[in-house]
Amino acid sequence: MNTISETRQKSLLYLENVSVSFDGFKALNSLSFVVEPGELRAIIGPNGAGKTTMMDIITGKTRPDTGTVLFEDAIDLTKKDEADIAQLGIGRKFQKPTVFESHTIWDNLELALNRDRSVFATLFYTLSPEDEARIEEILSTIRLSHRKDELAANLSHGQKQWLEIGMLLAQEPKLLLVDEPVAGMTDAETAETAELLKEIAKTRSVVVVEHDMGFIRELGVKVTCLAEGSVLAEGSIDFVSNDPKVIENYLGR
């Protein structure tokens, strides 16, 4: 008992026995999952393992049927909606890069900045010098400074992924959920993205969902393998990839 409550107290994100089903299909089956502050965690698993559903539940898009979802051991995320959760400090990158294509890259970042997001505050908002500096900083982090005035629609697929990560950074989250960040990227881009995520994880927790085993190896972090809605194995990449159940369910022989 003691260890469980200790785990909870230390955790940034705490999921216990979370289940959800859609029309009889159990997408999550008493899933338990803990992320500690400052941790970089990778999640793997076959299609339909519940990876995206888990992210939906953490970010308030889907309500679980049963189970506990706590943020910083105090905030019940099942009672909050997406905007609340985002404001609490959980950022999410979608599988398909989702940026504001008819805005410039600069505007995309400006919108993402962690400032008062109420209607009237945004109506009367003016860009302050420190906000400007912050955006410039992020632009250089995501290597898009030279294209800041272009429309986001003109970016390549990989650059859109980076812009989205940049937007998450501007949000200043405590926890970043990243869904398949390197899908459709070249090898060089993949390597750069791994660097970027490691950089980011220095100051906050990051959870990465990815299929690319090479990329996960490159991250070199603790891996959780999901299958059929619950955790199959957890540990280092070598430990998990040698687990017979994981091989059976996911990696194949």
Partner: protein, 583 residues
């Protein structure tokens, strides 16, 4: 020809119900139990009475060869009517009836019609017929002509509604002893509808002789009704109340209510209990009638919406020209009937059956053209599709208006679509009945087509995973086109049915489009069963709201309820849940 409804179908339902009620009483008075033909012109009390009397007359002449009851000569009684006031006339009528002489029937008939006159010179009573500037006088008993008279030489014997009622019951009493079973049955009905104590002896005498079971039962009821207003013993009256209670229906309620003021205090309790029992039964029937009207409206909604359930529900196309497809179907019916009238009038009863494939092909073809010409460029842009198809709808409306003119076109009902029949305490019109059956069969046929046929399989494959279907060798563009054509064709078929109950004008479709979308959205997109349940429940809800808040407010309330409902369940009644799709 059924009544035409105005642009707000719901509004019209109230009028229609009133009409049905009248029809109902008409049928009863005619003694028609089922399948009688009905001409709207024959409405109204006087006409009813007249045809009743005429029917009796025909039978009487055949059956009453000899007077069989009391043998007093009615002639002086009839002549006495000349100087009688209303009260005296009522008494005289009682005596005339008691005479049991069937020869008085024409005189009574004439009296009720206001055709009974007396000659000023000798106070003799005659039946008068207009002849030139004066009257031809006819002997009231023999029917022989008694010569001409100037208009000012005779005076009309006044009649009022009370007297007409007395006449009616007298006639009933007179015919209760007929040898013809049908006449007796009608006579018992007549007594039942307007009971009087004077007839009681007659009824009982007839009852004693009666052998036919059905007629006997009817006469028992007639007796019970008459007993209540007579001075018989309390026990007898109690029995009568019981009999009337078992009879049920609006008329019984009227009879019981009419005697409730004059009834012995000891019977008050029984009477009230009987009234309450009939009322609650009546309420049940009213409820059933409301459900029926609701189902009927619901099936109309289903017809209008079912094509949309395919184009919108399955393909996701917002087709604002859907209503115009219905309209085109209705116009196809009109054209088919026009051709039949000119070339083969004897096929008219088949016109709807011929119009169905014609409408399906016409609207299906138009749908195909719309899909190939406009919609296929707009897949994945629902709002643009909405606008473009709205444009199509304007063009279709204007085209029809240019060809056929802006006014309503006359589409006839085949004989099997008109008339009605009673079920317990409610009346069911054939056209509504057929439309309900028709919409259900369309629904079933569509369900089978989608689930069982190869085309249905292709269609579901394309809507579920276009790229996969395409790589399996399915020609997705043609599946799209034919699915849309199918949805349009079904709208056209719906138009054939709706042409039977609604105005066929270029605006026909406009009045259905919002309702249809409401049905599909309410029922849940992509689910035919949802459309069925949605249509029927909205129809019934509408009909249940109508009596308390009126037709228009009822419709508004239904709209508001749907708007609120969509807030609660944005995907409708039968929405499929699923893993939330990203972005």
């Amino acid at each position: 020809m059924g009544p035409r409804s105005d642009p707000l179908p719901a509004l019209n339902e109230v009028g229609e119900r009133e009409l049905r009620r009248r029809r109902q009483s008409f049928f009863r008075s005619q003694g028609f139990r089922r399948g009688g033909t009905f001409r709207p012109a024959d409405r109204g009390e006087i006409m009813t009475l007249k045809s009743l009397l005429q029917a009796f007359l025909a039978c009487l002449i055949l059956s009453f060869a000899a007077p069989s009851f009391a043998q007093s000569d009615p002639k002086p009684l009839i002549d006495a009517l000349a100087k009688a006031d209303f009260n005296e006339a009522e008494k005289l009528l009682g005596q005339i009836a008691a005479s049991g002489d069937a020869r008085v029937v024409p005189a009574l008939n004439a009296f009720a019609e206001g055709d009974l006159y007396f000659r000023k010179s000798d106070n003799l009573v005659f039946i008068a017929k207009t002849a030139g500037s004066g009257f031809e006088l006819i002997d009231p008993l023999t029917g022989a002509s008694a010569g001409q008279a100037a208009k000012n030489a005779v005076t009309k014997i006044k009649v009022n509604n009370n007297l007409r009622r007395v006449i009616r019951s007298a006639m009933g009493g007179l015919t209760l002893l007929s040898a013809d079973r049908a006449v007796r049955l009608q006579a018992a009905d007549a007594v039942l509808r307007s009971p009087s104590p004077e007839n009681l002896d007659l009824v009982e005498a007839a009852l004693a002789k009666e052998t036919d079971k059905e007629v006997k039962a009817r006469m028992e009821e007639a007796r019970a009704v008459s007993v209540l207003s007579s001075d018989r013993s309390i026990d007898e009256k109690r029995g009568a109340i019981e009999t009337i209670k078992n009879l049920g229906g609006r008329n019984s309620l009227g009879i019981l209510n009419s005697v409730s003021g004059s009834i012995d205090a000891g019977l008050k309790g029984d009477l009230d209990a009987a009234i309450a029992a009939i009322e609650s039964e009546q309420q049940l029937w009213d409820m059933a009638q409301n459900v029926w009207y609701g189902l009927s409206l619901g099936s109309v909604l289903l017809l209008a919406a079912i094509g949309l359930a395919i184009t919108f529900g399955v393909m996701g196309i917002i087709n604002m020209a859907h209503g115009e497809m219905v309209m085109l179907g209705a116009y196809s019916t009109f054209v088919v009937q026009d051709v039949i009238r000119d070339n083969a009038p004897n096929l008219f009863d088949w016109s709807l059956a011929i119009a169905l494939p014609v409408a399906f092909l016409v609207t299906g073809a138009v749908g195909l053209v719309i899909e190939r010409g406009v919609i296929r460029f707009l897949y994945g842009r629902p709002l643009e599709t909405l606008l473009a198809t709205w444009g199509v709808s304007l063009i279709l409306q204007q085209t029809i208006r240019s060809i056929f003119g802006p006014t309503n076109q006359e589409v006839g009902n085949p004989s099997w679509m008109s008339g009605s029949f009673p079920v317990g305490g409610m009346t069911i019109t054939w056209n509504r009945m057929w439309i309900i059956l028709f919409s259900m069969s369309i629904f079933v046929a569509l369900l089978v087509l989608l689930k069982k046929s190869a085309f249905g399989l292709n269609m579901r494959a394309v809507t579920q995973n276009r790229r996969m279907a395409s790589s399996m060798g399915i020609k997705t563009p043609w599946v799209d086109a034919f699915t849309f054509a199918l949805g349009s064709g079904i709208a056209g078929i719906a138009g054939v049915a709706l042409s039977q109950i609604d105005n066929v004008s270029p605006n026909l479709g406009q009045s259905y489009i919002i309702d249809s979308f409401m049905v599909v959205v309410f029922g849940g997109v992509g689910n035919l069963w949802g459309t069925l349940v949605g249509a029927l429940s909205l129809g019934v809800l509408n009909k249940f709201l109508e009596p308390s808040v009126g037709a228009v407010l009822g419709k508004i309330l239904v709209l508001v309820l749907i708007i609120l409902f969509i807030q609660k369940r944005p995907r409708g009644l039968f929405a499929l849940k699923g893993r939330a799709v990203e972005a």
